[in-house]
Amino acid sequence: MVPELGHFALILALVFAVLQATMPLIGSLRHSQTLIALARPLAWGQFTFISISFLALLFAFLADDFSVVYVAANSNTLMPTLYKISAVWGAHEGSLLLWVLMLAGWGAAIALFSRNLPLPMVARVISVQGMVAIGFLLFMLLTSNPFDRIFPMPIEGRDLNPLLQDPGLAIHPPMLYMGYVGFSVAFAFAIAALIGGKLDSAWARWSRSWTTVAWVFLTLGIALGSWWSYYELGWGGWWFWDPVENASFMPWLAGTALIHSLAVTEKRAAFKTWTVLLAISAFSLSLLGTFLVRSGVLTSVHAFATDPTRGAFILIFLCIVIGGSLALYAWRAPSISDGGRFDLFSRESFLLINNLLLVTLTVLVLFGTLAPLIYDAAGWGKISVGFPWFNTMFIYLSPLLIAAMGIGPLLHWKRDQFRRLAPQLGLAIALTVLVVVLAMTLLQPAIGFGLGLAAWLLTTHVINLFDRSKRREPITIGAGKRNYSRSYYGMWIAHLGMVVFIIGVTLVSHRGSETDVRLSPNGVYENSGYRFQFNGVEVVKGPNYDAFRGEFVVFQDEQEITRLYPEKRKYFSGGMPMTEAGIDAGFLRDIYISLGEPIGITGDWGLRVYYKPFVRWIWLGCILMALGGLFAASDRRYRPQRVASI
């Protein structure tokens, strides 16, 4: 009964989406206040019904209702409650439901927090959101219904993919999806503005905070995914240039370009068409990412053939969304004014450079991700675009990006004199060179490169902070002083996050060590100043798995500092064994041990021992970036009371 209720609610949500996509838009074009006024109630209605549907599926999982195919395929009675909940979005159908729930949630949030927007604008934004929702709801109802029943009902479910049974991964998809779906708001604002033909700085201001919030979620989602793969996959890596990761990284790059471009559009009314294109791109890449990951087309082109209806639907939907918005763009863009002029040496120029580099990186990642697919599909043979290719691209382009990132914030809008900045830039260059020389002589040449970038970014930003505090009022966060806003601090913190991130990446890449060792019980191994004593492996039982668990005592300077318990789990539902690394996390270094294979019958084990200096800084950097985003988005000029008084 409950699953049918969920299914029915989903159908009603589709009806609401259709009304939402049409009525308010027609109203805004015909100046009918009645139709325009429908926008908000319709958005709330759609959200209500999708919530009911989502709760119905959640209930089916909690009640172990294996008569629902999707539940039977992804849950089982032994699973801990947390994973029964996260299993709701553990596979294709449920993750789509989560997607539409979030889409409707963002829609309802717009309806709620848009008191300061002109009503026709709200109506159009909500309409565009409704159009996207139609596509997703149709896709679910026609090809991927999570409420399909199975008869006879299985006695036991099949279990969630063991890889996904982890707290990190329970919250990773919702975070990521909040980001993906959040870009639909920027997209809807851009399309609504194109329809209305009015791209002014008010439009940029409204969409800016929403976009930044979406970007914050995406940043955290990606960081969580990276952290998860680090401790769960047992290879000690934090980023693999895996197509699934790239699928989330592309919208991030485009979204990063977008929030910077929006800054220019808001402050200087320039880059308007460029901003619109970025908003369309960021959301298109989010759609592509969702589908690439969920259709399985990445693991094998064959996956498309497993279910041609899904494949065809996805392609058509993507074509309508992207082609349609670009056609609208082609029609409307010529009438949009170019906006403020600026000199070569100005903040606009450097933001433009930053944008072009970010877009270049996006295109490169897109190419690297899709090339193997296109080659395979076209029958040109198999190619693999891997780690070295992506790394090389980023190593070539990142110095340019970082250089621009350091200078940009120091510059004035519109026009600046190089003479004014020469002493500051000179100081930053001198300090950077000092760091590079020190790192190269004391550590190793390759580290000089990475730390040099970090030093450049840090010195320019510290100089910028001092410069500002000298010229303006004292530093008081959020006190509402002229231009001395949360927006500025947000930028500063996010860029500081980049510094921390670069330091982490550089040190873990060049100073870390990874060794494969074979140890007998009570054997000892020494590395990087640590001594590892292996106390053997025992068998332990989990709720839905058996595991081998090793015990290691780690000594430093003859002092025991920690005990690590890496595991190798075999889930009852079958599949490959899962590694749970034993990690001693620290601010300056991680010690990481994962169990390989037993060797012989004497209790010997093959082990992987990693020493990872500064690895936490990678995620700390991401958290700082996200925090910066939050600061910027909470700037008072985005809050209703201020804007309403204009």
């Binding site: 693991t299 497993t306 082609a330 409307r332 599909a377 599949g575």
Partner: protein, 179 residues
Amino acid sequence: MSKTSRALIPLSIFIALAALLFYGLQLNPREVPSPLVNQPAPALTLPSLKDPQQMLTAERLRGKVSLVNVWASWCPSCRQEHAELMRIARENNDVQVIGLNWKDTRPEALEMLQQFGDPYAEIFFDPDNRAGIDWGVYGAPETFIVDAQGVIRHKRIGPINREVWQTEMLPIIEQCRGQ
């Protein structure tokens, strides 16, 4: 360039890319029906993967319904379907899963089995695509259903998962069982 034509650039690029992708997908020869279906299985005389001394023939396929699975250690989709093959082998005593290890090397193939388990009742070792040509193999993984009389009843291209097993393969196996 005029503003109007400049505004058309993004759309044109997208249309070009979409056309290319669409054309690419059309080219994919994935739906080629195998002419071997409902024909007796072609010759299959190859050494065993596990015991190089032992020669195996197509006789090995008689007497039981067989799933002949073409696989290789270098093929990611094969790893993906491996757990499902393990389950099929475990749960269907009247079906034998026969491996055709294709364009692979012996140590790498054996290592993969050691790592992920071995669902195969027997494995034919075909490093040079000798049997592969007769069987019309053009990629791994592929899986043939061969009935107890040694007649090929179905060919599956691409990895097997639970859904494929239940909707596509099981009905044909039921027919074979009914004979």
